[in-house]
């Protein structure tokens, strides 16, 4: 059990418990108002949201536990109208639809029909398909850049929303029903999907599942759009059972094939769901022991009739919000609760957040923060009001293994211990440094271009022709096959297209503001009325960490700050302590324990 965290600013006379007794583990009975305290409120806000400042935690701690949980879970009454809608750059053009699956598909189409992507092939002259190839790469790049802006928009909501659980549950569903930009290649569909998760995240799982099955990003991501009568594609049918509802072991390969038939014809046109009747297989299917002329909606209903589904979903929610290890008995209880509530998510969340189990030592301080949680909670605890542009939120979370709208596969992200490797632990400390001491030579890499693109750009500007400018740098005569294959079609030049498309994308996608974090630790420490460096260290540990470091490390931090300030008297150092406090906070945020929530 972790040692108690002492919130100095709000310290009552006695030391508060950070967790309840061990006997609370697996006990779903609600905790009593008399047991509720500041540390429990901090734990709740950390898990049901992204942590918060001492003031925010204090506000929750003055409520009853039931009120505090309801304040987070039943957020519909909380006014969030000041949150700005996504600010569109306006980069999509009608000619881009339907976007072809690959560059060769675009140029084949152009050669056959004389046009593609809304652009005509030049009747004569050199590189007649070049503008079409440029446009193809333009959209690929523009969608990536705009997706980065969608991620910023979402992260800012996580940081500033008065309804943190609305964003936290959306993040959960984003990992559960994972789709990524790399395959969807259309920020509009991904934005729509995030909004679905925000809107329906704590609602009914049945409605959510049906909405996801008809969601354009998901349809594209799992190839449902090419699942047609007589030739079904099993990708979606498999994942809806394996990853989205029941887990392996509850269905057969035959069930997958039959379900795929039932989903045939479900497709999207641009950003709208459609059912193509002529592509739908009207025939009889036998699925999980039932037979009928099922369509996708029927399949979803049958899946939701399986006890395994509620057990699976309840356990996954529990693992995300509480802890990784979950006994079969507890899983059965949570599954039963979800079935009882007819798949309503909010009552399950309330039950979990109010339970003694949630405040037991097995649950408190034992979650390893995901990269997005790490970044957002760091900013929240610093009291920031906007996600900084430096360091870049997407690069940081991506380097740490969780870039929004880019989960690696349909299975989402591996969580828990998988979030941290030796390399990533160091990287997490480096993130803290980049926030507290932002680099003055920041370059927005998503606009700057890869070395290959920059090399083409430089050579074009120096006046070289396209062929000369796009020759790969050769180091030896032994050129890899992939580099030799790059420029073989005289109708267009792929390398030039990717350079020009990049340039067009930068021109049209709005830039992400690149403000650095406004941090004022001196003010924070002064406001807490601290007298000594020991008190300052304890305050920073309590404010930023859920599990404190060892006494040995704490001593080192105190000695470090003493040495930096030249005194143990904080009041005497008030006018010059900012940099020293930031160094100290960087060291705190580099501790293994800082990764825990």
């Amino acid at each position: 059990m972790p040692a108690p965290v002492r919130p100095v600013a709000l310290a009552p006379a006695t030391v508060l418990a950070t967790a309840g007794p061990s006997a609370w583990q697996n006990d779903l009975a609600p905790i009593a108002s008399s047991e509720w305290n500041y540390n429990f409120a901090a734990h709740l806000l950390e898990r049901a949201g992204f942590g918060g400042t001492p003031d925010e935690i204090h506000a929750l701690s003055t409520m009853t536990p039931a009120q505090a949980v309801a304040r987070l879970v039943r957020f519909e009454g909380v006014d969030s109208s000041r949150l700005a809608p996504f600010d569109e750059s306006g980069i999509h053009e009608p000619g881009l639809e339907p976007f072809p699956p690959s560059r060769p598909a675009v140029t084949d189409q152009a050669k056959e029909t004389g046009h593609a992507l809304g652009i005509h092939v030049k009747p004569a002259g050199n590189r007649r398909l070049q503008p079409i190839v440029n446009e193809f790469f333009y959209w690929l790049r523009a969608s990536v850049l705009e997706t980065h802006r969608v991620a910023y928009w979402w992260a800012n909501r996580m940081l500033t929303s008065p309804r943190p659980l609305e964003e936290k549950i959306a993040l959960f569903w984003h990992g559960h029903f994972a789709s990524n930009e790399g395959k969807v290649r259309d920020y509009r569909k991904l934005l729509q999907q995030v909004q679905l998760f925000q809107r329906q995240g704590t609602g009914n799982f049945r409605s959510l599942l049906l909405a996801v099955a008809q969601d354009p990003a998901m349809l594209v991501f799992l190839d449902a759009g090419v699942n047609v009568k007589g030739a079904s594609n099993e990708n979606f049918a498999r994942e809806i059972m394996e990853l989205f509802t029941m887990g392996v072991g509850h269905y057969s390969e035959k069930d997958i094939r039959e379900a795929a038939r039932a989903f045939t014809g479900w497709n999207c046109v641009d950003v709208k769901f459609v059912v193509n009747r002529d592509q739908h297989d009207e025939g009889e299917k036998t699925f999980l022991g039932r037979t009928g002329a099922f369509d996708g909606g029927d399949i979803i209903n049958i899946i939701l009739d399986q006890p395994a589904t509620a057990d699976f979903i309840a356990a996954k929610i529990y693992r995300f919000f509480v802890r990784e290890d979950l006994s079969p008995q507890l899983q059965a209880k949570l599954g039963a609760a979800l079935r009882e509530s007819k798949y309503e998510i909010a009552p399950l969340l309330e039950k979990i957040f109010l339970s003694r189990d949630f405040y037991s030592p097995a649950s408190v301080g034992t979650a390893i923060k995901s990269p997005v949680e790490l970044a957002v909670s760091t900013y929240r605890k610093l009291g920031l009001t906007a996600i900084p542009g430096v360091p870049d939120f997407n690069s940081v979370t991506g380097a740490l293994g969780q870039q929004l709208l880019s989960p690696p596969t349909v299975a989402g992200w591996n969580s828990g211990q998988s979030w941290v490797t030796p390399g990533l632990l160091l990287e997490r400390g480096n993130f803290a440094r980049d926030v507290l001491f932002p680099t003055i030579s920041f370059i927005p890499l998503d606009r700057y271009g890869s070395p290959d693109i920059r090399s083409v750009a430089d050579r074009i500007r120096r006046g070289m022709d396209i062929s000369e400018a796009t020759k790969p740098d050769t180091k030896t005569g032994d050129l890899a096959e992939s580099n030799m294959a790059a420029d073989r079609d005289e109708d267009f030049n792929t390398r030039y297209g990717s350079y020009r498309g990049w340039q067009m994308a930068i021109e049209r996608v709005k830039a992400i503001p690149r403000d650095t974090a406004r941090v004022d630790l001196s003010k924070m420490v002064t406001a807490a009325k601290l007298k000594t460096t020991s008190e300052a260290i304890d305050y920073l540990i309590a404010r930023f960490m859920r599990v404190p470091p060892s006494g040995e490390v704490r001593q080192k931090l105190v000695a470090f700050l003493d040495n930096e300030l030249g005194t143990a008297d904080i009041t005497a150092a008030q006018t010059y302590m900012e940099d020293s406090l930031r160094l100290t906070l960087h060291l705190i945020m580099s501790q293994p324990e800082y990764q825990l929530a």
């Binding site: 047609v228 997958i256 301080g365 490797t421 390399g423 160091l426 070395p451 890899a480 096959e481 040995e552």
Partner: protein, 417 residues
Amino acid sequence: MSAGLFKFPKASRRDLLRAGMYGVSVSAGSALRMSLFGQAAAAMAAETGSNGKILVVLELSGGNDGLNTLIPYADDAYYKHRPNLGIPRKQVRAIDDHFGFSHGMAGFEKLYQSGKLAIVHGCGYDNPSFSHFTSMAYWHTAAPNSGEPYGWVGRLADAMAPDAPPNFLVDIDSHQSLAVRSKLHVPVVFDDPNRFTREVFAEERAVADAAVPSVKVDNPSQRYLLDIARSARSSSALVREAWAKYRSPVDYGLVSLDLPKVAALIEAGMPTRLYYTSYRNNAFDTHVFQSDVHQRLLTYASDAVSAFLTDLERIGRAGDVVVMVFSEFGRRVPENVNLGTDHGTANLMFVAGKQVKGGHYGKVPSLTDLDAGDNLIFTTDFRRVYATMIASWLGYRGTRDLLHGDFEPFDMFQRKA
């Protein structure tokens, strides 16, 4: 991973000579090298009684379509199953009168022709799973349907080096693979070597670089993080130094699959015996419009593996390293209507290296006698190939315990260098 990271300015003759000499300096041992790597390597040899051989595992994630990788162009059944996706005989890089590589795979063709590539046919297991995640977990643990919590590479590290010396096991990825999950070792997992460092200001160094305190901790997540912190402290400087020194004239192609990083560590004399790397993010999951993208993936993989062996020659360690290539399953024999292929069963594995006896291994599965789901019936348990790596290559004899069963190794390596 962008190839740009690994591109270096055109090498002069002098650079090439210097590069060649790095290989020599490992054994000769410059003062600086001995200071870090020499000591670590010497300690390692003493602890493991090692034969010094290194295994590199390369995972092709997503389920590579083996039939369109090594095309059985002489088998009419292949073209019957694949009227649109079948690669015409004239485009195939024929290696004999029956098989040929996909046309971008100049690298593998070259390796095969020079006798450095073993092709193992029909690799799979009983009651195959068609789920990426489940089947990959089976390959990672070498224990289908068992719930084995540790990876086979991790267990191998535990068995070969139960004292768990640092840096024995390296996994280059953004997250740790189940394959390297070990009871005793903390695998060195990093992605970008340049970022594998704690960036600190001078005045912070004493506190930031201090040893991780050994305190008794009940919180299992906290305990895990403290172990990770210790591992990071012992490996990051070595990895960075190796990468900073690495200068290779070899062209790894557009996607290098982290193999230059492995080469850098080997060149620097890192005491690592087991490396794990992957073509990430389900790249080979080609359900729709597969032909261009699949051909490209194969070109990249083939370029990178072949370049890696060339690089090892330059380094002087080609005789000590093999690369084993696998994917979690093959694809269904008939193409689907979306010009792609769905999840299948048995597949090819490849083993590449100077000491490899090139050629075909295992029985080629029939293209006419398929299972009920139109899939190949496996002929070689994939754990036989693992056993070959463990026993015949690395010289560890306890494959039976390690793999939970008897799997006969192939006779795949030259007797003496």
